[in-house]
Subunit: 349 residues, 4 copies
Amino acid sequence: MNFASDNTSGVHPAVMAALAAANEGHVASYGSDALTRAAEDMVRKVLDAPDAAVMFTATGTAANALSLAGMADPWQRIFCHNEAHVEMSECGAPEMFTGGAKLTLIAADGGVLDADALDHAASYWAGEGLGGGKPGAISISNTTEAGRVWSPDQVAEIGAVARQHGLSLHMDGARFANAVAASGASPAELTHLAGVDLLSFGGTKNGAMGVEAVVAFDSALAERLAYMRKRSGHLLSKHRFLSAQFYALLDGGLWLQLGAHANRMAARLAEGLAGVEGASLVRPAESNQLFVRLSPDAHDRARGAGAVYRGWPSLSDDDADAEGFVVRLVCSWNTTETEVQELIAALKG
Amino acid sequence: MNFASDNTSGVHPAVMAALAAANEGHVASYGSDALTRAAEDMVRKVLDAPDAAVMFTATGTAANALSLAGMADPWQRIFCHNEAHVEMSECGAPEMFTGGAKLTLIAADGGVLDADALDHAASYWAGEGLGGGKPGAISISNTTEAGRVWSPDQVAEIGAVARQHGLSLHMDGARFANAVAASGASPAELTHLAGVDLLSFGGTKNGAMGVEAVVAFDSALAERLAYMRKRSGHLLSKHRFLSAQFYALLDGGLWLQLGAHANRMAARLAEGLAGVEGASLVRPAESNQLFVRLSPDAHDRARGAGAVYRGWPSLSDDDADAEGFVVRLVCSWNTTETEVQELIAALKG
Amino acid sequence: MNFASDNTSGVHPAVMAALAAANEGHVASYGSDALTRAAEDMVRKVLDAPDAAVMFTATGTAANALSLAGMADPWQRIFCHNEAHVEMSECGAPEMFTGGAKLTLIAADGGVLDADALDHAASYWAGEGLGGGKPGAISISNTTEAGRVWSPDQVAEIGAVARQHGLSLHMDGARFANAVAASGASPAELTHLAGVDLLSFGGTKNGAMGVEAVVAFDSALAERLAYMRKRSGHLLSKHRFLSAQFYALLDGGLWLQLGAHANRMAARLAEGLAGVEGASLVRPAESNQLFVRLSPDAHDRARGAGAVYRGWPSLSDDDADAEGFVVRLVCSWNTTETEVQELIAALKG
Amino acid sequence: MNFASDNTSGVHPAVMAALAAANEGHVASYGSDALTRAAEDMVRKVLDAPDAAVMFTATGTAANALSLAGMADPWQRIFCHNEAHVEMSECGAPEMFTGGAKLTLIAADGGVLDADALDHAASYWAGEGLGGGKPGAISISNTTEAGRVWSPDQVAEIGAVARQHGLSLHMDGARFANAVAASGASPAELTHLAGVDLLSFGGTKNGAMGVEAVVAFDSALAERLAYMRKRSGHLLSKHRFLSAQFYALLDGGLWLQLGAHANRMAARLAEGLAGVEGASLVRPAESNQLFVRLSPDAHDRARGAGAVYRGWPSLSDDDADAEGFVVRLVCSWNTTETEVQELIAALKG
């Protein structure tokens, strides 16, 4: 019963099979191979973006930092949520890759930014002149770090603010499959049709071994991104093995099936938690991550039964009077119905 | 017949098997897993360096850039050969990771630096004061980009210069297996016993899918390196799949068998070339890379027969009067005797 | 009647005289001159810090950014007030000089940080592990950007938190003269005796043409700072002209007389504003900066009479229901009693 | 008798007078003042470049680093002479400001680069692909660090290579006054008419206290440069005192008179040296810097008489068989005929 993160899961069999299949003969290195071309084309097709530039990397932090560096100059401000992965969990990668751009944090419950708040922030900093730094970009996460899912309209509102202020818009899609599956919208509707300029399209949490795609809907960014990937050490020499993973995920819609499965397991878990004394959702169950307040007793029972998950101190702090503390429960592409029922049973004791 | 590079080869079956074996169950992410501990221990054992800090990355450029950033401040100079990979082939990764340290190029035939030349350069720049930047580190490659192999004594001479001037010493071991196999020396003799402070220990060209180890013989660098790996996006979430590769290579000495095999194939090829009209080695055959001047006729015959290899313009320029041009022929862990004979036959026509 | 900023004032006659006096003969460049030694010694004497390293620059942004880069690694977090000059007004200089360290903003009325809030933030980020970045430093401003003045005890509380968490402590003293004069404490009590590690000691706003001192109470930072100043272009070749300014300010205690004068003028202005309809202080008058809510009528009268000052939109927003808007009124070393009375008269109409 | 550098000289009386005159009343800070507008206009007029963007800084290292950062992306190569100030004497400022661009060194006697050599280098690195970094810019110095002077035709040859390869062209004019005076060409002919995109127009060595102008002939660079100057701490708050200096130098052609004077003094010195046993020019006397091989006896005599100058070890090394060593003798705007004669007399003994 491991609900710690979707990156504690292994690799989907189809991806493993694709890696084995790619291991044939001598193939040109550094991405100059036919499989890489095919995987890039597949990404463009899935996103209905025939002119997009596509570039694979092995980590989500690299994909995000390269995306932001593709958009923002060192003297610019990038607006993002105060719990955004780029702020909280990447050890300053955006600052390193952009050459020192500043992340300016915007509060928002659950990470779905408010267009008016962004509009206000962009206006405010534009008014501060040289010293304030120039408003340059917005980064949003879909699904958010809180497990929330954006609708195309919500994204489009942010896209409109971006256009109005001359900002670029990035979407951190480390869990893009979960977002698309949960929203019912198309990948295009959630991205370029809503004003997104650059997408970090996640594969790793979706069942890959380690691959993410940087997608620039304006292909003029392709050269800049290519040099930046190279000099940041993120151009793999045996690149076919990145491409094989992404191709396998997208082929036949596997990525969406896996994303939907993880969401479904989380929904089942949420249903079950409703019947557990000492467990209550603190955020709505919209995708594959649940945030749950547990009583000490419930926690002890679950741990005793071998359940693995992480505490979420920032949320625990939010309500100092409540009993217990908040934990995050993540369902993955390979979470089983059985595991979900076992966890519910363990919490009940 | 592909002699373009050792990274056009695929992955050794034992590594593929290790990846499959590692794909079991939920495992802690970001390197907090037992297999990563075991692989790190194995590296320490192979290098006879029980206190070394070991850190895996997916690319050689990352390993080199992190190593140099672990050693050098932004205002320092790093001395290296003018054909060093860190200068020629990494698009400024050392500059990006160090925050702008300067590579100062030292000429040397075949990339084996001369201790006196280094001593002179370090003294000269120390004498230039603040404006010149502070001499900070030396980076050498073993095997060199020219296929040369360092003896432990040669490394130790550089190590002595480093100590004398207070410089750190880095070894780019992208082809460390070939170097160890060719030298007959132990990994320890070629590194920390000779004064090397940081080693980029290559796995990818040696039969892995994509893994290199940064080895800091002074474990005090461990924290600094860990933060730098994270913020450069080089800490893989499903890290067990990096560790599995390196473990499989080192286990039972596979890495050295593969390195020795590649060297042996290159030696066979060199022998065969001696009998080819219109082909002559321009550098001694010491490891798995050969640099060969081909007549246009020989080249046409080889290409016609389907041989793949790369031209090496910088060497062609060296002797403008000579006929033909220089190419690089690289043997890999999976180069076969048959391929070698086919290439020789093709060149002969 | 110019109350826009203390940097719209010119240069004190004693400083001009010192520049003229320094313009004699050939003098060693880049700070290797006797006057520079004397000015550095004077700084050490004033701060009662005989071992401190002292380094002059031409701008406060440079002094702050060099100080922070002397303390913080690229992967660290620097805690500061959300209205700190380093965050609001330096266009990312701290990020540029540190190589991408993150400023983490702490709210506090008037910019005097609360020790408990800092303690909580440092603990929180330490708990976030690699991804969160490592807590590295604290930066406070004295006087604050809101014109508040720290007591030695208040600084010492922050110093204690810094020590407890292994953080360095920087004080942005762009208006250090005003702070010392207002607090009644000694320069030493407000800095190294209270745990400050690095001080930006301002001269420009205090009557100089353009000079600030970086003071590192731990002289081990001297070499690092010297290289960083050089590579950031902040080592002036005709350096004697920086040193002459600082010497002139400190000589005979002129700096404190000027700081006290500016504070006194602001106090007079505050007294006078008490009798002005349509003008009210929104922050206490502690040093040389006043923040005043003006009615539209009062504003029109003052502007009509030729008064120059700046609006302060962030404070205006704080109380959307209040009439009028907030402006900042700054008194300088050369603000006269007459100007103060003229402004009061103009506001009254 | 100080021939150490033109920055050991003080400030011209006209510049001092201009500083005193500028010290009147309250003036808008950060360059938003009328004197700054006038000084910028004067620069444009002198260069016959009505659309150029002009920006003042206090140091030549800042002017160079900002210029290069205005032209080059972090992943680019900047070609320059191997004795260029940007390589030898700025402690990595170009790397810091550009975010890690690489300086690629081109040998050339006396620093006047050969167009064919540049063409070859640009072609070579363009051929190296991503790994090699992208050729981005060329930086030349006029006068060169060896005291050589470029003709407009020579600059135009480099400009043509730049255009052909899509590179930007920077001129480090720390001694631009000496260059213009010596060449007899107009400022425009030596810069934008010959293909120069960015000029570091030096004032400090020409008689100022500390001011240089960054001139971008393509004014589209203005915004980028403005943000970079701010975040590098090089926007002075009491900016009028920078502007006053440059205005005073350009006003009435003072800058060219001073440059011509320094050149003339060097010519006199060169004439006199012809009659000195144990002194011989190792480079032609073209501007205000002479490089002279001195016998130990001549050196002892000069030092004994109080002459101050610097040894030039790199040139001494060039001819290990020659007696003595090479020194640099720099004449300045305030070097007198008497000092020149005294030095000659001292060397003769």
